[in-house]
Amino acid sequence: MREKQFRKKNLALAKETQATARQSAEEKLRGSASKSVKLTVRQAGLVEKGRNASNSREVKVGLDALNQATLFDDAQPAGERIEALQETYLSMSTNKEFKERLIRLIGNAKQPLELRTEALDCFIAATFGSRSSASWRPQFLETLRSVAQSSEDPLAEKALEVLAQERDPWALETLQAGLRTPAAAKVSQIQAIQHLNSVDHNDHYDVLRKLATKNRSHKVRVEAIRGLAADPNAKDLLLQILKGSKEPPAVRQAALLSLRIADRDAYGSEASRILNDASEPDLLRATSMATQRYDPDGVGEDYSSKVQQISEGSDSDTLRKAAQYYLPKKE
């Protein structure tokens, strides 16, 4: 009975939302009569039909036509063009011609930056899941590369990041070059490392090792150490950082977490040692507790008794709470 009532209420809400949306669309269509949006003959026909529509579908088609025209009309204010884009991009996501026009807009440095940025975001959202096999992919990648290469285009950095997310070889190698030669960097070190770390098959591990050991920024070191999780050959370096008592706790924590992936055996013995050593920082001991607690092979007796001990007797409030949280529950 409750489910039936819930469904009835849900349906009523959906109908109300649809009615509101239709009303809003009709108002916009009527209001457009006084605006000077450049419409093609076809678009004008659809908009007129939408104004006098007898059903929601005609209203929607008319609104889409109006929004498309507004979006690509250079004479319209950027804010209205963005609003038009946001209203229409999802319904146009299967329209090849619309996508190709949107790509050209993204690549046009003469268009307002905020519009191009929004267009790129909307394009990515609308094409999620279809980008790798789409027919417009070559045009999309080429446009982004052209934007990313331009030193004067304010969209260059974002274009480079999108390309890196697409695993574009040129983009990944550009990021890598920026890590090796900071003067040539187009994005921050942290951003570059994060993008490069998403692909195991890059060849940036030598530069990660340098950054992991020698960088003024702890945050950069942490990102570099994270990347080394994918390189089992980095085991000795990770151990060295982890055992370095003068290293910041956050850096040592990153080394412990990466060691867990790069070399389980080395991680296992270190995690136990750290848990048992009261002189180790709370952050490290709590991390050791957490990673051991959720080990796929389960926890041993030693772990349970040690964590129990900490939960009852530690001087640190933080550590006691962590121990109470991570203590395996007795069944």
Partner: protein, 323 residues
Amino acid sequence: MNVPANTEGLAGTTPEPTVAGAIANASVEGLLLLLDERHPVYEGRSENAVHRIRGWILNHVVVSDERFLPFIREELETGTHAYSVAAAARALRSQQVNGGAWRPLLESALVRVKDDSIQFHAYPLEVVKGDTSAKAELRRILEEAPRQAGVIQISSVRSYRESSPILDLVLEDQEGSQAPFHEIFLGRPSFVTFFYTRCNNPAKCSANIMRWAELGQRLAEHLEEVNLAAITYDPLFDTPDRLKRYAEQREAPLGNRIRLFRAPDQQIDLERHFALQVGYGQATVNRHASEAHVLSAEGVIVKSYSRVPWTIDEVIAELLAEQ
């Protein structure tokens, strides 16, 4: 490796423009040697660099020579990288083959490839405006290929019996149990294939192990009479727990006679024994061939599948014939 003069000295540290120049002037023999994943030119390079180099090599295949066909076939069958797949399609046009037989491969490549704007007049290290795309190249050759079906004539399946010494190394399985090679493989015929868990081409290792798992299911009643083994190219990263998870996710009926392995200490010996066609970047494999072998009950390699897919029925027939 006997390297022809104009490709001599090419190594993983050779700048790519230099490699490209050597490729442009290479002989047929030189190009063939460079297509081998073990060539020093690939050592330590990223996967993207390897694709560029191999694509450039295929772009310079202009002479019809059947020895190129396994490489072309493999790229069309499993490749996803726009540049190397397009180059393979272009290379195919220079070969004297029955185009109709290659249609299914070309059509599957058309679906699989991650298209991109490309060009072939300059080595693609810098960004140059493209004048074609991978799909355009594939469609072009499809338009030229006759529609009548045929069979691809390539001999990449090598059959041989040699009295090779039994491999002296220890393997570790997905449970962490270690045993010497002879203990695992002697006494019953075996099928051995190779893979690694970080392979990012779903048409290669993942598909291979799924097929291997299905082979195991089909042989369920005969599993005491044969061995099925899958050995990783990446022993440092592919620890037993990772091997186990990988196999379970692909529904492999793991047991005493169907196991995944790594060679914890002697990977080089393993590669040498099976002549594994694999190259390594800084952290993991940068490129590998599709390969599998049938071993006799004496542990001798009697059949090798190199750059061709093995079929379940074929392997079952081979294993039963070896009993």
